[in-house]
């Protein structure tokens, strides 16, 4: 059984540049423990796709690592690098948390967006980073998603978004909740243009992102074992005071309940996206 949940995820810092060792819980032992099969894995064994060599468990990817395995090399032109969140509500600790997230991830926000080619097909790409304040959606994330959609409309090309988010960024209060309505309003216009939107739901995607642009795509894919839902498992457990069934809210469970088109292993993702782009009339290097 897959054990990773949003709460536990925090014990496994996102690997990559400047993010420290994968497993801080056992500092003296080399490598990290796979949350699925419990075997120890050396970081170098994970390779670029970050899969457990024993059981295929999908370890978290940060946005840049994700970009590496999806976009054609050197094709990514990033949008909106200058957008910065501000602490409108003067929420205590928000500025410090932002600074910390920026320093730890090397990103300016919880999503990167831009134009790229995937297998030669041009598209607008959005990739959320679960390590940046839990991928939470504030004003800037909402704005970047909207502008990505608008650029796709302008360029008449497909839109691909990888989601990973704990939901709304509470430090921005109602301004963050309303990003749900902002992104869905723009998405409504996007869909009228006859363009393709593929959403790939990765671990974990809950709350405001799951209940807005993540679930409104033409094609909804998910990575194996990804936690997907509106309410997080801890909240549900508290509400119903029962233990949750095994596999509850995992991608496989959501597929079984009709919420996803396919579950795609990370190694197959790029090929699968290429296939969808081709079948929707994508023209190479357009």
């Amino acid at each position: 059984m897959l054990k990773s949940s949003f709460g536990k995820q925090k014990l496994i810092p996102i690997p990559g540049s400047g993010r420290g060792p994968l497993d801080k819980t056992v500092p003296n032992e080399p490598g990290l423990k796979c949350p699925s099969c419990s075997r120890r894995v050396m970081e170098m064994e994970l390779k670029e796709h970050k899969l457990c060599p024993h059981c295929g468990h999908h370890f978290p990817l940060n946005a840049r690592e994700r970009l590496e395995i999806i976009a054609d090399s050197g094709s990514f032109q990033e949008f909106e690098v200058g957008l910065r969140s501000i602490n409108t509500l003067e929420f205590p600790g928000y500025d410090e948390k932002m600074t910390q997230a920026i320093n730890e991830t090397g990103l300016s926000e919880a999503i990167i967006t831009g134009k790229a080619t995937v297998g030669g097909y041009p598209c607008v790409l959005g990739i959320m980073d679960p390590g940046f304040m839990m991928g939470s959606m504030g004003s800037v994330v909402g704005e970047k998603v909207c502008r990505a959609m608008e650029r796709a409309i302008e360029l008449k090309i497909a839109l691909i978004i990888f989601t990973a988010s704990g939901g709304a960024r509470m430090q921005e209060g109602m301004l963050s909740l309303l990003q749900m309505a902002k992104t869905t309003a723009v998405l409504g216009r996007f869909h009228q243009e006859g363009l393709l939107y593929i959403s790939i739901i990765t671990n974990p995607t809950t709350g405001g992102v799951s209940a807005s642009f993540a679930s409104l795509a033409d094609i909804i894919l998910a990575e194996p074992g990804a936690l997907i839902g509106f309410a997080g498992p801890r909240v549900i457990k508290q509400t119903i005071s029962e233990t949750l069934p095994a596999g509850f809210q995992k991608a496989e469970f959501m597929l079984g309940h009709g919420m996803l088109d396919c579950i795609v292993e990370r190694g197959q993702l790029k090929k699968t996206l290429e296939l969808f782009l081709r079948l929707h009339g994508g023209e190479k290097n357009g």
Binding site: L83, T88, A181, A211, L216, L244
Partner: protein, 318 residues
């Protein structure tokens, strides 16, 4: 210890009772204290008025959840004529946490939707405390589509702790159901007005709030998540909910300053339940005015204004 219940009115009432006793007692005395009593009484009312004009955000959260507060059915009965309730999502079930139907408002047929809290515990259990499952949101999707077909304006009432976090709700696609409503409302080809009457909590409340106009009762609140949940997530301490409420900017007044609430409907001193008709008359006037303004515009203009209203939400640096 965090205050969990808004008890100011009870304290005030017991003070008044003691005051009346004292007044009665004084009549058996030789000297006339009527002047003194009158002055004291005025002072008491002043203090009460001041209190209600200076409620803390947390006190407003508690007042917005007050068990005596009017529920959606009270508003429907008072504001509309020829109300008929319509049920079901046509796929799975009937969710009583959201009530929907058709009625006449000032002679105009409208579609009415609202989160349905109960008037007592029994009703609340039946209505799941106004916390919808996916069926509730699919009912909304169905009824606003119907409203569009017959060109009926849509009026929604918001009063919910949030969408229900349960097993069945997740299995049947809570996120999907909310998202579909959120994408439909911005494009709906009829005027829409939303009123926050009590507590607006999270995405479950937002699903009824994507409207041309958002009105808020003066003691209502609208929050990204409950102050308890935010305190528990950010500070790992639900006990700091009161402090959290003061940072989150959840009151009608705060949201008006942020440009999110378009209008505040003043409640009587003591809250909506102290003088319901006084409040409901004021709400009715505002609804009439807003509806008239919206219906005077071309639909294209209404849609563009609505789109820009939501497209422009957010504060950031470029």
């Amino acid at each position: 210890m965090v205050k969990r219940h808004f008890d100011y009115e009870e304290k005030y009432r017991s003070l008044r009772e003691k005051f009346q006793e004292l007044k009665k007692l004084s009549q058996s005395m030789d000297f006339d204290l009527n002047q003194e009593f009158k002055r004291l009484e005025d002072k008491m009312e002043d203090i009460r008025g001041d209190k209600y004009h200076n409620l803390s955000p947390w006190e407003k959260v508690l007042l917005s959840r007050h068990s005596g507060r009017p529920v959606v059915k009270d508003y429907i009965e008072y504001l509309f004529e020829d109300w008929i309730e319509l049920h079901g999502d046509r796929s799975y079930g009937e969710d009583r946490a959201i009530i929907g139907g058709i009625a006449a408002f000032a002679g105009i047929p409208v579609t009415v939707l609202g989160h349905q809290k109960g008037r007592d515990t029994n009703e609340n259990l039946k209505n799941n405390f106004g916390m919808p499952h996916p069926e509730g949101f699919r009912k909304v999707e169905r009824l606003i589509g119907q409203a569009e077909k017959f060109k009926r304006p849509v009026i929604t009432f918001i009063d919910t702790p949030g969408a229900y976090p349960g097993l069945g709700a997740e299995e049947r696609g809570q996120a999907w159901a909310i998202a579909r409503v959120l994408m439909l409302f911005p494009r709906l080809q009829v005027p829409t007005i939303a009123i926050v009457t009590g507590e607006g909590g999270s995405g479950g409340a937002l699903a009824l709030a994507v409207a041309d106009r958002l009105l808020m009762l003066s003691n209502s609140v609208f929050s990204v998540a409950s102050a308890e949940a935010c305190a528990s997530i950010i500070w790992k301490d639900a006990g700091r909910a009161e402090e959290m409420a003061s940072y989150l900017k959840v009151t009608a007044q705060d949201l008006s300053e942020l440009g999110i609430a378009d209008e505040i409907i003043q409640e009587p001193i003591g809250g909506a339940h102290q003088d319901f008709t006084d409040l409901a008359d004021r709400l009715k006037k505002s609804l009439e005015l807003n509806l008239k303004q919206l219906m005077a515009l071309e639909m294209e203009q209404v849609l563009e204004q609505r789109y820009q209203k939501f497209r422009g939400v957010g504060r950031f640096l470029e």
